[in-house]
């Protein structure tokens, strides 16, 4: 199987408290160097808690943010200039909030036409044909085309967002919390639609979410992000069922599951690391029940066969 997407030491550092003169107040390493390969046709799930760098990573992948270091390769070809229009044809993005990702003052048709016109230079007749085709694929009625975004429910609006991403004909879709804003019954409709489109069009997905159960249900492999680094990556059925990294285990134990008694796996005094003043060694140390001496000195690297973990004392 060929590699659809390859990240090599991709990282992002934000400079905060920029001043007109003088040095900035600090730096936030939102994404530490991440190296990843996503084979064609795979769904790679990315989970992590708020602020762990999920969106930052996703936005770099589509060119909305310039990386501070590292490189991105799509199907073997490097993407080296941060121009969303160049990225657009090869990798697309589906937004979390379906309504706010659609311009309130444009009709759905105007929204759909932009990528066809700008990325593929189609004429009017070609565009109309293509829009009908895509709308059929995402189960939307063509009469919606002349309406405005606020007239749609969340689920319909998200379908329109997906339709727009499909119009660019990119083979890779970054799905950033695509169903978090939707009701559960509609969430299932959209997830099933995504699965069907992937099958039919041979797409590759990066599925970002904070909902472990959803990620597990849709992904082939899952990467767990903590404090800007991948701390564990492996097959979806293994990662939460048999975690190797203590943080993954904490996540899995915290998720509410029918039939499991309510427990708080962590004491109430545990502190999260401060991004402006990151701890030395393993970022999870202050919360980790297994921490040893080495954890405070060195940063652990991702290691393992099929299920990799960045930990000196992995659970398996």
């Amino acid at each position: 199987m060929s590699i659809a997407l390859k990240l090599d030491a991709l990282s992002k550092t934000f400079v905060v408290g920029k001043q007109l003169f003088g040095p900035p107040k600090g730096r936030v390493h939102a994404v530490h160097p991440v190296t990843l390969e996503v084979p064609e046709g795979e769904t790679l799930g990315i989970v992590g808690e708020s602020g762990c760098g999920k969106s930052t990573l996703a936005r770099m992948l589509v060119g909305l943010l310039e990386p501070s270091g590292g490189s991105i390769e799509i199907a073997g070809k490097p993407l080296d200039n941060a121009d969303p229009a160049v990225f657009g044809k090869r990798i697309q993005y589906v937004f979390q909030d379906p309504i706010s990702s659609l311009n309130p003052r444009k009709t759905v048709r105007q929204i759909m036409e932009v990528p066809l016109k700008r990325l593929h230079g189609m004429d009017k007749a070609q565009r109309d044909r293509r829009i009908s085709e895509i709308f059929a694929q995402v189960n939307l009625r063509e009469e919606f085309l002349d309406r405005y975004p606020h007239e749609f429910s969340g689920g319909q609006a998200q379908r329109i967002g997906i339709a727009r991403a499909l119009a660019a004909e990119a083979k890779i879709l970054i799905l950033d919390e695509p169903v978090s804003a939707l009701d559960v019954s509609v969430q299932a409709q959209v997830l099933n639609l995504l699965a069907e489109l992937k099958q039919r069009l041979g797409l590759t997905y990066l599925f970002i979410s904070h909902d472990l159960a959803v990620v597990e249900a849709v992904s082939d492999r899952v990467a767990v992000l903590y404090f800007g680094s991948v701390v564990e990556i492996g097959r979806a059925e293994d990662v939460f069922a048999n975690p190797r990294h203590p943080y993954t285990k904490l996540l899995a134990d915290s998720a509410p599951v029918v039939g499991r008694p309510l427990t708080a796996p962590e004491g109430r005094e545990t502190e999260l690391p401060d991004p402006l003043n990151p701890p030395k060694g393993c970022a999870f140390r202050a919360r980790c029940p297994y921490a040893g001496e080495r954890c405070g000195e060195e940063v652990p690297r991702l290691e393992g066969e099929t299920q990799l973990a960045a930990c000196f004392h992995p659970l398996r």
Partner: protein, 625 residues
């Protein structure tokens, strides 16, 4: 509602509109009116009084016809004022949009420049510009436009920053649009209403400022008349022949007042909040119009709802948001309420303490008993003394409980001291403990934070701490952990669980997460289209759901540990509650629906410990007792 009908609702704005329309009409037809030449002097007839023959408004110090000069002057003043407004708006908006869209250094440089311009006293700056360019109407226009550019730039920049960070702008970039195209086709259409508002509220002042410059002799030059120069020339005869000043003065007054009234009206009419009726003053507690008999309290529930009905009356439509809901909680008990958005969970919760906004909300039936006392229709004072102290809420949106302008520590202390007489120090210590309970890191320093300095998840935790501040008897929590991370959520759920076990707190927990319900709640009620369709002990309902909706809702939620799988979606959407189908509301989406389901009311029948509203249950249920 259309823009014009909204505008017309505001009487003063309507008056302003009519007056302005008349003035503009007069100015437009001035050239074809049979007027004397405004500039021909006739010193023999100087200072004729108004209503003299041949000079309706009299003449000025050079014997020129005042009516003619007034109309021509108004025409000129309006034209210059509008031109200045348009120029200032276009240039200011352009500067603002560029600064706001590009941000960073561009923004910094532009806005520092704008700040510098704004630091000068307004009229001084205008005078300086005219002094540099030399007197003349055109230069006055340039000066007035120039001093108003910063105002527009500032306003429009603020709006643009908000829009430039919207996701649809990112989407446009990914669709291949360049910056220039995005500014024109994505940003601009969303800023135009703001530009129009800013213009309509400032054009009056610009007319006044131009008149001011002309009055000082820096604007229109003799013999050309505008309202300012007419006033200026009349100055020396103010005492002897006041009519020469009064005539242009009154016209300026009329124009500026009319424009400002109209401008305020335009601003209000374009404000989207007004459109939804949100600015109409809400009542202190939800309006009550109970028609049927009031039910009696039952059992030993601390909070007990009996047949509660809450509706929204919007124009001629009636939304039956809550269509007869009954439930209760005992001390130490936790009731889960589950259902999709729009099923009436939140409105039910808000109705308890009369927190549904009225208008449009109306409680039309049923009762809410708190320790046996009916709260529906209770006096506002009574409700207020119970809110927070006896029954506390945790909202999904923490900003609903936090005031943006006070530190969170002070707000917590305030909340504690409203109902309890303790020293500031004790209250502060308690506030600190509360923040630690809800797992806020560095709690001491967080007491000094303002709400906007915290992340959404952090604010939500403060909202939970506020609800716990007065050790209430009942907590109604409306999706309190939906926005939180799983590790924090686990912490908060176990905190709530401890409180109910140790202190006998009764909890009503609204959620759409079956995992949370299973772990925290003793009983669960499933709502669909404003009604409970199934209720019972959590374990039994989740293990063997009896209502087709419950079963299918459970099936479409993935659960951790089940691996990759297809989900069983429910096709279609819940019905709109202003247009409910007869019979079972779920029938259009139910694969077991028959004709019988679509006819007449289906009752919520009791089967042992559980209740069900369905003709064809999914499981065998014991017969009603």
């Amino acid at each position: 509602m259309s823009f014009l009908s909204l505008l017309a609702r505001n009487r003063l704005a309507l008056a302003g509109l009519i007056v302005m329309a008349l003035v503009v009409l007069l100015a437009l037809v001035t050239p074809i009116l049979p007027l004397a030449d405004p500039d021909v002097t006739n010193t023999g007839n100087r200072f004729l009084k108004p209503f003299s023959e041949g000079a309706l408004l009299g003449t000025d110090h050079l014997g020129r016809d005042l009516l003619s000069r007034l109309l021509w002057g108004t025409r000129l003043s309006l034209a210059v004022g509008f031109a200045a407004a348009v120029i200032a708006a276009v240039l200011g908006a352009a500067v603002g949009i560029i600064a706001g869209y590009y941000g960073g250094r561009v923004d910094n440089l532009i806005m520092r420049g704008v700040d510098m311009l704004m630091a000068f006293p307004y009229i001084l700056l205008a005078l300086a510009i005219v002094a540099a360019l030399g007197p003349g109407l055109l230069n006055a226009l340039i000066a007035v436009a120039a001093v108003n550019i910063p105002f527009f730039a500032r306003n429009i920049r603020g709006i643009t920053v908000g829009i430039a960070h919207k996701e649809f702008v990112d989407a446009a970039k990914l669709a291949g649009m360049g910056d220039a195209r995005i500014i024109v086709s994505e940003v601009l259409p969303n800023v135009v209403p703001v530009i129009v508002i800013a213009m309509s509220t400032t054009v009056g002042w610009m007319i006044l400022e131009t008149a001011g410059l002309s009055f000082l002799g820096l604007g229109s030059q003799p013999p050309q008349a505008d309202l300012g120069s007419m006033l200026g020339e009349a100055r020396s005869a103010l005492i002897t022949n006041p009519h020469t000043s009064v005539v242009p003065g009154v016209m300026i007054l009329i124009i500026v007042m009319a424009i400002n009234l109209l401008g305020d009206g335009v601003r209000d009419a374009l404000d989207p909040r007004l459109r939804s009726g949100a600015l109409t003053r809400p009542m202190a507690a939800t309006m009550v119009q109970r028609k049927g008999p009031v039910p009696d309290p039952q059992g030993d529930n601390v909070l007990d709802l009996r047949g509660l009905e809450t509706q929204f009356h919007v124009k001629d439509r009636i939304y039956r948001a809550v269509g007869g809901v009954s439930w209760g909680v005992k001390p130490g008990e936790c009731l889960g309420i589950i259902g999709e958005s729009g099923s009436g969970k939140s409105v039910t919760a808000l109705s308890v303490m009369g927190l549904v906004a009225s208008p449009p909300g109306v409680i039309t039936g049923g009762a809410v008993f708190y320790k046996g006392e009916d709260l529906v229709g209770a006096p506002y004072e009574r409700l207020r003394s119970l809110r927070g102290r006896e029954v506390a809420y945790i909202f999904q949106d923490p900003l609903a409980t936090l005031h943006p302008l006070y530190k969170v520590g002070d707000q917590l202390v305030e909340a504690i001291r409203v109902h309890h007489h303790v020293s500031d120090k004790e209250a502060r210590a308690k506030a600190l403990g509360l923040l630690k309970d809800v797992r806020i890191p560095n709690a001491e320093s967080r007491l000094e934070n303002y709400p906007h300095e915290m992340s959404g998840g952090m604010r939500q935790r403060v909202g939970i701490a506020m609800a716990l501040a007065n050790d209430p008897e009942v907590i109604i929590a409306d999706e309190p952990t939906t926005a939180l991370d799983v590790t924090v959520q686990a912490q908060i759920l176990s905190l709530l669980d401890t409180l109910r076990r140790e202190k006998g707190l009764a909890i009503v927990f609204i959620t759409h997460d079956f995992g949370v319900v299973a772990q925290l709640c003793d009983r669960v009620a499933v709502m669909y289209a404003g009604r409970i369709v199934e209720e019972g002990p959590t374990q039994i309902v989740l293990d063997a759901p009896a209502h087709p909706y419950t079963r299918r809702l459970i099936a479409c939620v993935p659960e951790l540990g089940e691996g990759k799988r297809a989900l069983h979606a429910i096709p279609g959407l819940p019905p709109a509650v202003n247009d409910l189908p007869p019979g079972c509301a779920f029938a259009p989406r139910c694969d077991k629906a028959t004709e019988a389901c679509r006819q007449g009311e289906i009752a919520l029948d009791a089967f042992g410990a559980r209740k069900l509203r369905c003709l064809f249950p999914e499981t065998e249920l014991e017969a009603a007792q």
